[in-house]
Symmetry: C2
Subunit: 345 residues, 2 copies
C-alpha cells in the first residue's frame, strides 16, 4: 500500500479536505485545526505519502540541491573538500551533486548546460590553474553560471575573479613553512611542485621568497622545480634536481606542494640513498590520511579542507558575499629535523 504515485490529491480525497489544507499540514503551518491536522497526518502515514520535491521546486523556485565542480575525487584532497561540503549541505537539508570541469567547458557556446538546467540553488566551483587562453573560457563560464545561480569559488582563485570565495592565504602559509625550516637551521631549502604560470603557486612562490628573505637566505633557482601535484611528478622533480646538482649542493630540506608530491620526494630520496630526516627534511601539505604511515611519518600542514567545503556551502546558502580565508596548522611528525652539519664540512 502506498507508492510513489500517492499525491496530495489522494490525501485530500481520503480525508475529505482540500489540497490546500493538506499542503498546510505538510508545511507545518499553524493555521490548521488540531483535529484536521491529525486526520491528514494519519492519512499521509497510512498511504505512505511522500511529497515530491520536484513539484515543490516548480512553485517555490528552490530545489534544495547544490552542485560542486571538482577536478578529481581520487585525489584525497578533493575528497576532503567534498566531504566537508556534503555533510554541511545534508545538515541544512540540501543535497550535493558532483560535477567535473569537463562538464563546464566541453561546449564553449553552451557552457555548463547540465548545471543550469538542473536549477541548482547554488554552485561551488573549485578553480584550478588555467593556461592563458583557457582562463577567459573559465571566466566566461563562471559569468554565465552566476546569471542562473549563486556561485562560490574555492581553490586557486585569481585575485581578479570577483566572486565570493573560501581560500587559503598560500603566501603566508609558505612563508611560515620556510620559517619553520630555517628555524631548524636549514639554509638550502627546495620547493617542489606547482605550475610556473599559475597564479596561485605564484603566491606560494611569493611566500617562499619572503621566507627566504626573512632568514637572509638567497633565492636559488635550481631549488625551485615546477611540476604537477602528483606523487609521480614529485619523484621525477626531485630526481631531476638531485641528478643535476653536485652532492654538496643538495638541499637539506624540501617543501612539497602537497602530500602526494611529498610521497614522491620520499621515494626519490630513498632511491638516492638519502636518509630522511637526518640528511634531508621533507614537508608536505594537506595532511592526507596516509601521511602518518609513510616512512618516515610525514610532517605536513593540515589545511582544514573539510572546513573549506563546509564554509563554501554556508556562504552559498546564506548568500553572504564574502571572500574568506581558512586557517592551517603545522602537524609535526618525523620527516623534518634540525639540519645535520656534515662533519666533512
Amino acid at each position: 500500500m502506498g507508492n510513489q504515485n500517492t499525491t496530495i490529491y489522494d490525501i485530500a480525497s481520503e480525508v475529505g479536505v482540500s489540497i490546500a489544507t493538506v499542503s498546510r499540514v505538510l508545511r507545518g503551518e499553524s493555521n490548521v485545526s488540531p483535529a484536521t491536522r491529525e486526520k491528514v497526518q494519519q492519512a499521509m502515514d497510512r498511504l505512505n505519502y511522500r511529497p515530491s520535491s520536484i513539484a515543490r521546486g516548480l512553485t517555490s523556485k528552490t530545489t534544495h540541491s547544490l552542485g560542486i565542480v571538482l577536478p578529481k575525487l581520487l585525489n584525497p584532497h578533493y575528497a576532503m573538500i567534498f566531504t566537508g561540503a556534503q555533510e554541511e549541505a545534508l545538515r541544512q537539508g540540501y543535497s550535493l551533486s558532483l560535477f567535473s570541469w569537463s562538464s563546464l567547458d566541453t561546449d564553449a557556446y553552451n557552457p555548463a548546460t547540465m548545471l543550469i538546467e538542473r536549477r541548482l540553488d547554488g554552485l561551488i566551483v573549485c578553480v584550478e590553474y588555467s593556461p592563458p587562453g583557457r582562463d577567459e573560457l573559465v571566466q566566461k563560464a563562471l559569468q554565465t553560471l552566476r546569471r542562473f545561480m549563486p556561485v562560490v569559488l574555492i581553490g586557486c582563485v585569481p585575485p581578479w575573479y570577483d566572486f565570493p570565495s573560501v581560500t587559503h592565504n598560500n603566501a603566508a602559509m609558505m612563508r611560515s613553512i620556510v620559517a619553520y625550516l630555517t628555524g631548524l637551521g636549514h639554509e638550502n631549502i627546495a620547493f617542489i611542485g606547482g605550475i610556473e604560470e599559475d597564479k596561485d603557486p605564484h603566491r606560494r612562490d611569493e611566500g617562499y621568497r619572503a621566507g627566504l628573505q626573512d632568514a637572509r637566505l638567497p633565492y636559488i633557482a635550481s631549488y625551485r622545480v615546477y611540476g604537477k601535484g602528483t606523487a609521480e611528478a614529485g619523484k621525477e622533480a626531485l630526481d631531476g634536481m638531485l641528478n643535476s646538482l653536485r652532492r654538496d649542493r643538495w638541499p637539506t630540506a624540501v617543501i612539497a606542494l602537497n602530500d602526494l608530491v611529498a610521497m614522491g620526494c620520499l621515494r626519490s630520496a630513498l632511491e638516492h640513498g638519502i636518509s630522511v630526516p637526518s640528511q634531508m627534511s621533507v614537508i608536505g601539505c594537506d595532511d592526507l590520511f596516509c601521511a602518518p604511515f609513510l616512512s618516515p611519518p610525514l610532517t605536513s600542514i593540515n589545511t582544514h579542507q573539510q572546513q573549506t567545503g563546509a564554509r563554501a556551502v554556508q556562504l552559498l546558502i546564506s548568500g553572504e558575499q564574502l571572500r574568506e580565508t581558512v586557517s592551517w596548522e603545522l602537524i609535526e611528525r618525523a620527516s623534518c629535523a634540525p639540519v645535520h652539519k656534515e662533519t666533512e664540512d
Copy 2:
C-alpha cells in the same frame, strides 16, 4: 540579456508560435518546418534560454538524477566507487548525488525521507556490515526505498538480500591470495581485519580457510585477527598478534583486509624490527594510489572499484535485474617475497 526566468512562453511569444512548437524544437522532434525551427532556435540563443529540468521532470516523471549511499568518501576505496559511478552517470546525462547511511536510518519511522522526496531515478546503496538488530532496519529501509525507485546494491551484500547487485566474489579472491602466498612457500599466513559477525568477511574467511586447505595447511586461530578496516586498527591488530606470540611463531605472511590495514601492518612490522618482505610478506587489497609509495611498495589487489560504480549505474539505468560480479587483479610490488627459511631453524 537573458537569465534564469526565460521560459518557453517567452520564446513562443518572441517568435510568434505556440509553446508546443517551442517544446518540439527543444526536444529535437522532426515534425517542425525548417524555417520555424531556425527562428525558434535563434530566439532561444538570443534570450539565453535554458529549459528547466524541474518542470520537465514534473511531466516526464523522470529526473535524470541518481543517488548513491556510501559510508565515507574519505576512505579512497569509496572515492573510487563514487568516481566510477559519477563518470558513468555524467556520460549518460545523469547527475549523481551522494548521501550517507545516516540519512537512511536516522528516523526508523520515516527512513530515507530525503532520498524519496527527491524522486531520484535510481539509487545505489553500498551495504556494510550491520549488527543483528540493525540488519532488519536496513532491510526495511531498502524495501521502502525500492517502492519508490530502482535500487542496486554494492559492497558486502548478504546473499538473502534480493536486489540487483555488483559485488566481488570475496571467497574466491581470498583463496587465490592464499594460493599466491603458499606458492611463495609461506606456511604461517595471518589474516587481519574485518568483523567477526560480518557476513562478507565470513565469505573471506571461507576463502582463507579454503586456501589453507588447498595447501594442506592447518587453520590457526591466533593468525586470524578481526578489526576495523583502518590503518590504526591494522597496526593495533598486528601489534597484538606479534606481542602475544613467540618470535618463532610469528607469521611469515600477512593478508590485510585492505590497503589501509596493510599500511598499519607495515608500520607494526617496522616497529617490531621485522623487515618486509625478507622476514614478513604483506599483501593489501584495493590498490590505493598510495600503495606504490609505501615502504616497501605494497603488493595489492586491484578490485576495479571504479568499474563497480560504473556497472551499478548501468544496471540502474538499464533496469537489468542482475547480480553481477567484478573481476580483480593481483598487482605485484615489493612487499611479498618467497619465504626466508631461518638459518637457525
